[in-house]
């Protein structure tokens, strides 16, 4: 029986890369930090706030996201959306994720035989 600690580390490793993909997918529709956090966790991608907020800025620095300030509401909010280059990177990432899934399925079926 493995400890919860080990299990948690492996789950964390598995989830780490998917946060970027999930954020890029979600930001095909422009959104601001907190709302994105909510949307992601509603869809089964629980992310820590202290991970997501810096991540959004990093993706923006890398040119994968663009941003725009919205000052019409009660407080100024920075809306992020996927840029063109972000979209092409996202397609590659999704293709790879699908490939991982396909390979894993094949491996599982192969192991059953």
């Amino acid at each position: 029986m493995v400890s919860d600690e080990i299990l948690r580390t492996h789950l964390q490793e598995l989830r780490r890369g998917t946060v970027v993909v999930a954020s890029l997918v979600a930001l095909r529709r422009p959104d601001y930090g907190y709302a994105l956090l909510q949307r992601l966790s509603d869809h089964g991608f629980p992310v820590d706030a202290n991970t997501l907020y810096p991540l959004l800025r990093r993706l923006e620095d890398q040119g994968l996201l663009t941003s725009e300030w919205n000052t019409e509401e009660s407080r100024p909010r920075k809306f992020y959306r996927v840029s063109d280059s972000g979209e092409s990177v996202l397609r590659r990432l999704l293709a790879d994720l699908a490939a991982v899934h396909t390979s894993m399925t094949a491996l599982i079926e192969g192991a059953d035989r």
């Binding site: 706030a49 202290n50 991970t51």
Partner: protein, 316 residues
């Protein structure tokens, strides 16, 4: 007004690069207020909600490091192994060399043999600390400035030889040689600086000075030959029968003359015996001699048996 949020923002922004500080501040403040609002909507009072939100965001310095993409490690995996190797290499010989040099200078120029060892050790320790500090500092700076260093890639050619299983390892050999050299050095040393003084406060050698023209040179030669044997033993890496034979010969060449001299009352300086009344009383001197000879015999027998057993184990 100085709310917890204000304090949290100030603490976070302190270590974020200045050009983006304001923008991050506005965005982070909005995010925090959103989060508090979200919790308050669930029925919590705002003070508790604020505390919980800030706790969830965690240590502000860590958050700032994430914003700035800063590394929270002194030396990361890119440089760690190079750092470790360089440090080991330098520490393996530089402090010892400096210590010996300083000690020698102190002993010759300072005319202070006892202080020389201390001065050498202090110098060696200081050099070791300095090396560790500066090497680590350079690598910590490299880690942060991130220059594209073309460090040589690892290749299979760098693999060291697999260690041969040795019966005789370097620390043992080094210890034995150091002991032999110190012991050989003590023989002339005691002639000039023993711990005993005569009536006039002059120095009283422990060993009979008459032996210098007879047995002491022989004993010194045996000690030098023993050093050579240690080296040969290390090079062989294991006990062999010729080594056992030479070892036995050298053991006996030292122990037999010493025992014989001791038992015939010719080893110790007669003036020294004269100086200690207890030694002169009754059979005391003979008892000391007998106990010493028996002890030495046991040590020699043990050494010979030990080497023979090890050589026997090595038979093909």
């Amino acid at each position: 007004m100085n709310t917890l949020t204000d304090r949290y923002l100030a603490a976070t922004l302190r270590s974020v690069p200045a050009p983006r500080r304001e923008e991050i501040a506005t965005e982070l403040r909005a995010s925090i207020e959103d989060m508090i609002e979200g919790r308050a909507a669930g029925g919590q009072d705002t003070t508790t909600a604020e505390r919980e939100v800030l706790t969830e965001l965690g240590n502000p310095e860590q958050l700032a490091a994430r914003y700035a993409d800063r590394r929270l490690q002194l030396i990361g995996p890119t440089y760690y192994l190079v750092w470790q190797r360089l440090l080991k290499l330098l520490l393996s010989f530089v402090p010892a060399t400096v210590g010996v040099v300083v000690g020698l200078v102190e002993a010759t120029a300072g005319d202070n043999a006892g202080g020389a060892i201390g001065a050498g050790i202090v110098a060696a320790l200081q050099v070791a600390v300095q090396i560790a500090f500066w090497v680590t500092l350079v690598f910590a700076v490299l880690e942060r400035t991130n220059p594209s260093l073309r460090l040589p890639e690892w290749s299979v050619d760098q693999l060291p030889e697999a260690p041969v299983e040795r019966q005789i390892c370097l620390p043992d050999t080094a210890a034995a040689i150091v002991f032999l050299v110190l012991f050989a050095g003590y023989l002339p040393w005691q002639h000039f600086h023993s711990w005993v003084s005569d009536d006039q406060g002059g120095n009283l050698p422990i060993l009979d000075p008459a032996l210098w023209s007879s047995w002491l040179p022989v004993l010194l030669a045996v000690l030098v030959a023993s050093v050579a044997l240690e080296v040969a033993k290390y090079r062989a890496g294991r006990w062999t029968w010729p080594l056992v034979a030479v070892n036995t010969l050298l053991d006996l060449a030292f122990a037999v003359p010493v025992a014989w001299l001791l038992l015939t009352d010719r080893l110790l300086n007669p003036d020294l015996v004269e100086r200690f009344e207890w030694l002169r009383q009754g059979d005391n001197l003979d008892t000391v001699a007998t106990v010493t000879v028996v002890g030495a015999t046991l040590v020699v027998l043990w050494d010979i048996a030990d080497s023979a057993i090890k050589a026997y184990r090595n038979r093909a």
